[in-house]
């Protein structure tokens, strides 16, 4: 068990590195000059002011401060002869090793201006000139809240349906639930969300629920007790929760149904039947317990699905979460924030994988005994 845990946690590292490398690469590939963006958007009055020489001075100051004058990576490849000469020599690579480079600073910071990714600094937002990390940490709560709420709700509803339908395949209940679940599974969540908003939150049709946001526009009245605040918030949560939940519900339920249908063909079920157990006990004691194991693994599928699916839903409902942030940043071409969201979502997703794998290993003794392979 310990060795399995150790191995699993160790395998977290290359994945983490891959996410960090990918985010750095994306940051480098993003169009536009960061210095121009920072000067242009954050200091509109300074842009036109001063002589050309002064502007140039500001630019090179920022370039130096952001470390853009440094080589990009630890290793850099330069052609043997200067680029202008051309010929075969310019195709021969020479490796250079740079201890101080942009990636190093991206990770560890440069001591005074930025603290680096590993200390939670994701660079500066072009649009607001705030640290990108701060922007996101303020908003991560709502994303996690809706994701967790929807996943828990989806599990509570999906498990009984999946178990019941899967244990008697071909029964009317199974056929009906199959039909409904496929239907739900195929409904695009953003479409349902828009339709629900159009019908139930539209002053022209039925104005039952508020259309956007997660709390009253003017904020809560002064001195309102906590419980009343919750009551006031609930109407804002109903429609988003429905939209978040139903697609993961269909996913979990369908997968569970397939699992348990396969499980009913196993030898030990036949043995249980052969020794004369009533069908109810066979299903309850032998099938359900084993079928619930993969549900833990399903968590790994549902959690990132819900987390990244929230980009569209948060935008529709104007929920101030990470998804809404990424949408706004795409509109502003605010690349540091986009990439920061990408990194944080990646890390949360990976943590979800890690936790569910560990839970699975705790629940199923077979796992930790064998070397882990990718499930087929």
């Amino acid at each position: 068990m310990t060795s399995y845990l150790f191995r699993r946690i160790l395998s977290f590292i290359p994945t983490l590195l891959a996410v960090i490398l990918a985010s750095f690469l994306l940051l480098k590939l993003s169009p536009g000059d960061p210095v121009e963006r920072i000067i242009g958007s954050a200091m509109p009055d300074e842009k036109g002011a001063g002589s050309a020489a002064m502007q140039e001075q500001t630019r090179s100051d920022w370039r130096h401060r952001l470390g853009l004058d440094l080589p990009v990576f630890y290793i850099s490849i330069k052609p043997w002869s200067p680029a202008s000469e051309g010929g075969v020599k310019s195709l021969i690579p020479v490796l250079k090793i740079n201890p101080d480079n942009q990636f190093h600073r991206y990770l560890f910071g440069n001591g005074n201006f930025s603290a680096g990714l590993l200390h939670g600094d994701f660079g500066m937002s072009y649009a607001t000139r705030q640290p990108a990390g701060e922007l996101i940490y303020d908003r991560i709560g709502w994303s996690l809240f809706f994701t967790l709420l929807s996943v828990v709700l989806a599990y509570l509803i999906a498990i009984p349906i999946g178990l019941k339908a899967g244990s008697n395949p071909g029964s009317p209940f199974a056929r009906r639930s199959d039909l409904v679940l496929t239907f739900l599974f195929s409904l695009p969540a953003f479409w349902v969300a828009t339709l629900l908003l159009m019908t139930f939150c539209n002053p022209d049709v039925i104005h039952l629920l508020p259309a956007s946001g997660v709390k009253p526009v003017g904020g809560y009245p002064e001195g309102m007790p906590f419980l009343q605040r919750i009551l006031k918030t609930i109407p804002y949560l109903i429609v988003p929760t429905i939209c978040y939940t139903y697609s993961s519900l269909a996913f979990v339920s369908r997968t569970l149904q397939v699992t348990i249908t396969d499980l009913m063909k196993e030898d030990y079920i036949r043995t249980a039947r052969a020794k004369g157990l009533p069908e109810k006990l066979v299903v309850k004691k032998h099938a359900y317990r084993n079928a619930l194991l993969p549900v833990i693994t399903l968590f790994t599928g549902v959690f990132p699905f819900a987390l990244s699916g929230s980009v569209i839903l948060e935008t529709i409902f104007s929920i101030p979460g990470m998804g809404y942030t990424i949408y706004q940043s795409v509109a502003d071409q605010d690349y540091p924030v986009i990439i920061a969201v990408f990194t944080i979502t990646g890390v949360i997703t990976m943590a979800g994988f890690l936790i569910s794998d560990i839970l699975y290993a705790l629940a199923d003794p077979r796992i930790s005994l064998y070397r882990k392979k990718i499930p087929a």
Partner: protein, 420 residues
């Protein structure tokens, strides 16, 4: 090819009808919705204005002369051709109908401008059956052309995903960790050649700005990947060199499986949005982005299938019969592995279309002016009273996704009943 046909024949007709109908609409889009007449016969001469690229159409006058009129201003009710055939929907998605702009509902009164400049009500043949958008584009026409666009994105993305996924899955499943033997020298040379190929294709400024500047992106990509592969192509020759040429095992399976695991733990939609934001908005970029991020499922499945098939007795007997490895591989293993993968691919088309719709719904990815189902929904969310902008494109998306999901389920049930 025959195998593929047989594979399709097994699927019940009822599961094929709806996807086939969508495909037909996509293929026939210019015939189903077009502003210009499909067939025009005047003075015994046939012409097809909707299929010519010229912005003018030639109109014959009874006096025997002809006149060139711009297609976008011509009023067809004034002309008197011998025979004229219009498409069922008389609008293109893009040039908008200014008389009916600003969200006209399907049931509202729709207007047209008569030749004298009066506002008259629109004849039934030219009605906007599903309403218009803010700029006055016809929604039905947009949905018809959107079908084309969305199917192209779905199929293209899955094609890319299938190529990458099948290659990765087959290599890792077939060779495993302990059967691909290559000279060490090949690997070392490959590592050495990577920077060279980088300089030769993208890296070297002088080459880029010099004579090879005209090289297209694809050729550069080819150079980038081909040069490092050379030592592997000439591995037999390199294997003759005594020490560094000694053959060793390549753990391809471990490498690819690790890669898949890493890829799986990246948040897919966020990655797609980030890439789409960083890259230039275009249909091809969307196809490439979605394709390159959805190959993992296919690769995993193919790998598992190949692992299973490799030990089957029919493969052993083919080997005993003395067939070459490549033949065994292409005739016996790959076709059998593709069948279960086709289920995943059908689901993947649905997911790709949903992803594209979601992206355009947010206004990310597709270039401005392209009409897809998602961009129609995007217009609809701006104005909640324009229910037709949300309802109809949504039904189009749902119908396709639902029928594809049903088809996938059906294929899975066929092959789980009698496994290959």
């Amino acid at each position: 090819m025959r195998g593929l046909l047989k594979h399709i024949q097994v699927i019940k007709k009822q599961f094929l009808i709806i996807p086939a109908a969508y495909l037909l609409v996509a293929l026939l889009a210019p015939v189903l919705a077009n502003r210009d007449p499909l067939i025009l016969v005047q003075a015994g001469q046939w012409s097809f204005p909707s299929f010519s690229n010229s912005p003018y159409v030639e109109i014959f006058r009874p006096e025997g002369e002809f006149e060139q009129i711009r297609k976008d201003v011509i009023n067809w009710s004034e002309q008197e051709p011998d025979f004229i055939l219009f498409a069922p929907v008389r609008y293109d998605p893009e040039p908008s109908d200014l008389q009916n702009s600003n969200y006209v509902s399907p049931f509202e009164k729709q207007y047209a401008q008569s030749s004298r400049g009066h506002q008259v009500s629109l004849p039934w043949s030219k009605r906007h059956w599903l309403g218009t958008t803010k700029t006055g584009s016809d929604v039905l026409s947009g949905i018809i052309y959107g079908t084309r666009y969305d199917l192209m994105i779905g199929l293209g993305a899955v094609l890319i995903a299938a190529v990458i996924g099948i290659a990765a899955g087959v290599i890792s499943g077939y060779f495993g960790d302990r059967s691909l033997r290559m000279p060490l020298l090949s690997l070392l040379l490959c590592l050495l050649l990577i920077p060279v190929s980088w300089l030769a294709s993208f890296g070297n400024v002088s080459v880029v700005h010099g004579e090879i500047a005209s090289l297209s992106f694809l050729i550069r990509l080819l150079i980038l990947f081909l040069i490092p592969l050379l030592p592997f192509i000439f591995y037999k020759f390199l294997g003759n060199i005594p020490f560094p040429g000694r053959k060793m095992y390549f753990p391809v399976d471990s490498i690819i499986s690790r890669g898949i695991e890493i890829f799986l733990s990246l948040p897919r939609l966020v990655l797609i949005i980030t890439l789409a934001a960083v890259m230039k908005p275009s249909a091809w970029n969307i196809i490439i982005i979605i394709g390159c991020t959805s190959w993992t499922e296919i690769a995993r499945l193919i790998r598992a299938e190949v692992l299973k098939l490799r030990t089957q007795s029919f493969v052993d007997s083919a080997r005993v019969a003395g067939f070459p490895a490549l033949r065994i591989f292409f005739r016996h293993i790959l076709p059998n592995a593709l069948i279960p993968a086709s289920v995943v691919m059908v689901f993947a088309i649905a997911v790709a279309i949903l992803t594209e719709a979601g992206l355009s719904f947010l206004g990310i990815g597709v270039p401005y002016g392209t009409v897809t189902w998602g961009t129609l929904l995007f217009d609809g969310k701006e104005n909640f009273s324009a229910w037709w902008l949300v309802l109809f494109p949504g039904i189009a998306i749902f119908g396709l996704v639902w029928s594809l999901n049903n088809m996938g389920d059906h294929i899975r049930s066929i092959y789980s009943r009698n496994p290959a």
